[in-house]
Subunit: 451 residues, 2 copies
Amino acid sequence: MNFKVGIIGAGPSGLAMLRAFESEQKKGNKIPEIKCYEKQDNWGGMWNYTWRTGVGKYGEPLHGSMYKYLWSNGPKECLEFSDYTFSEHFGQSISSYPPREVLFDYIEGRIKQSNARKYITFNTVARWVDYNETTKQFRVVFDDLVNNKTFEEFFDYLVVGTGHFSTPNMPYFDGIDDFSGAVMHAHDFRGADQFVDKDILLIGSSYSAEDIGVQCYKHGSKSVTISYRTNPIGPNWPEGIKEVPLVTHFDGDKAFFKDGSSGVFDAVIFCTGYQHKFPFLPDNLRLKTKNCLYPDQLYKGVVFNELPQLMFLGMQDQYYTFNMFDAQAWYARDYVLGRIALPEKAEREKDIEKWVAEETKTETPFDHIDFQTSYIRELIAQTDYPGFNLDQVAAMFKQWIKDKETNVLTYRDKVYTSVMDQCKAEIHHTPWMKELDDSLERYLEEEVEVK
Amino acid sequence: MNFKVGIIGAGPSGLAMLRAFESEQKKGNKIPEIKCYEKQDNWGGMWNYTWRTGVGKYGEPLHGSMYKYLWSNGPKECLEFSDYTFSEHFGQSISSYPPREVLFDYIEGRIKQSNARKYITFNTVARWVDYNETTKQFRVVFDDLVNNKTFEEFFDYLVVGTGHFSTPNMPYFDGIDDFSGAVMHAHDFRGADQFVDKDILLIGSSYSAEDIGVQCYKHGSKSVTISYRTNPIGPNWPEGIKEVPLVTHFDGDKAFFKDGSSGVFDAVIFCTGYQHKFPFLPDNLRLKTKNCLYPDQLYKGVVFNELPQLMFLGMQDQYYTFNMFDAQAWYARDYVLGRIALPEKAEREKDIEKWVAEETKTETPFDHIDFQTSYIRELIAQTDYPGFNLDQVAAMFKQWIKDKETNVLTYRDKVYTSVMDQCKAEIHHTPWMKELDDSLERYLEEEVEVK
């Protein structure tokens, strides 16, 4: 096969792409030339924790939004790879909500079984892409950050797996310029330690606000106030966490809210979401989307309709994660290998419109789960990615939402059963609220003393 | 004149370039087509304060390292424009060390007299530059951040004035990953308020460490500890500020130093300098330099020797600032206009080597001042930028160093006399240590109550 595939990013999406090609190769089939470039110094994407904030060692905007003490906020049984189970990796049953280091270990475990690392160049950022209409190739300029050197590569296909939880969306509020305490976006939150005994204000009402709020409460913040724009998150908050309407303005160390209330705070954390940003792509090749379930430029949620040689993985709002990236990567692989023939552009457009129209009809989180389940079902049907019981995963997602609504402090103590190998999760040795040590070592201990 | 000049950045350097062309135009002379692009939403570069940290509204690495309560740390008489004095701008005599807003007003005052703004496109970042050997033109891809649109422009000359105090240099120290308090680079420091009653550790021994340390002390930090690598800053610190040798490692909230001492801290601020970074340039057009007085790729400190159509302004380590950028911009202008003929490359190389060798011989801050004075003297001699008494400015710089050594808390109460118009600065209405309000309004009040 004399063509070349470029992969940008070696996080869960880029690694899924490498794994997809590698599984093909293991069957004795030929694969094209592949190169993967990663801005960070290791693989794992968002799961590769860094203490840095803002920009990285070489001045690039930081990829990571990961923080200390982050535990999975959904059951691991919903994100399990269908070709590499948690039981296979750990050789034992573990709980349903592992911490970051454990999940990183799992992601790495699968990819380490392959020769994927040899395809990846680290500390190298995609700086600029041109598409040549004549040669039908992409020229990608990369920047080798360690050596301060730029170089070009040419590709027939380009797969973008750079994520969309890296570029903070940070609206302005009157008076925030002079707020006297700490101001940061969730992207730069690195753990609750810094906020022990502090009164903190979180602005936002999605996963970041919920999880950072609960983390800070757990690790000893004096009070946690969550300010929502439209709807409160709404679980039964314990004393010490409360929700208030949107901030109207700040004055000194004081924040004022729409309901006329106010409060004095030591820190404000903007949990106001992320922007999809692709600075290395010319705008006619850019995915321009908000966080939604079906970006309207992507056929099958993967193939850039204007130029199908360009693909994006993992750009959806996510219930499903690792196994969705896999399903997408396997689809992208089979398209690249010529096994999946794409219909004409207008046909593809119609298909996109059908899905987008379906998304418009969804209202509740349950609807969203069902939508994404159908999407993945369709993808998996077209490749040899090992199928799994999607209805059961959807049911677990729904149960997870109920668990959180019942008690946001204890939902991580629940256990689920793998649909991949029917392994039932263990109840963890320590209730989540009492477990302040999130290390892999501590997590895997069989008998522990509560510290 | 049928050629085109691109200017990247509308800070003090880019504005100097615009002003240089404009002063030529005012004399009735023709100038080439000019376009200037600025990443931020306003001009002023580093003097354009933002409350944001890390990345900006559109996810670009932030330019600004400016903080609340920043007052000039050198006498304004050393940075005065020779074609627009402080007296002319304010219509009165002011003190020698004005705060940020006052300096911004001064910079803006000069440029507002011209039609420079019409040449500038804001919120637009230079994304990628290619040089075409055949057409001898630069293709610059710009990214319109507001509209998420990219476009190309072609230039015969390119002037880079993007500064070099924007990309943090942040070394790793063992244990910093788990430091429990706040960790930031000086680039993200936005004012001392957040550190009132806190024990703070600054790592570094240059201007940032000195000034942030003094600011935090002034605004009420409980203690300020400054950790130096090689030499302490060394003034007679007041009780509450001390210097210690370099950090060896961190453990929890504790820092350990080379002399065996240790301390517990609420926050660590890395005052460890900046990197020169030009992500939009291919590496053969990149200035690769540390913070020095004579980057070895720049003829006359301005012209990129490998490709003289490319110029850099303000890339030196700086004693002189605004008037040095002016001297460079006037030089660049006259070269572009064909008034200054450059010698051959090898000759230019020799000239660079001569200056670099001179710099190597410098040892003390006084030597550095004399070096930069000579450099500027040479530049000014070649253009019509209004000459001024450089020896007297050099003497003021030296006195300023002595003043700081005598008392780092009171040196800003000293006054100097302008070499441009002999205006003697006023003693400010409030001693600097007692002045907690840095607004322009307060600064210009004639009679004040000490708050």
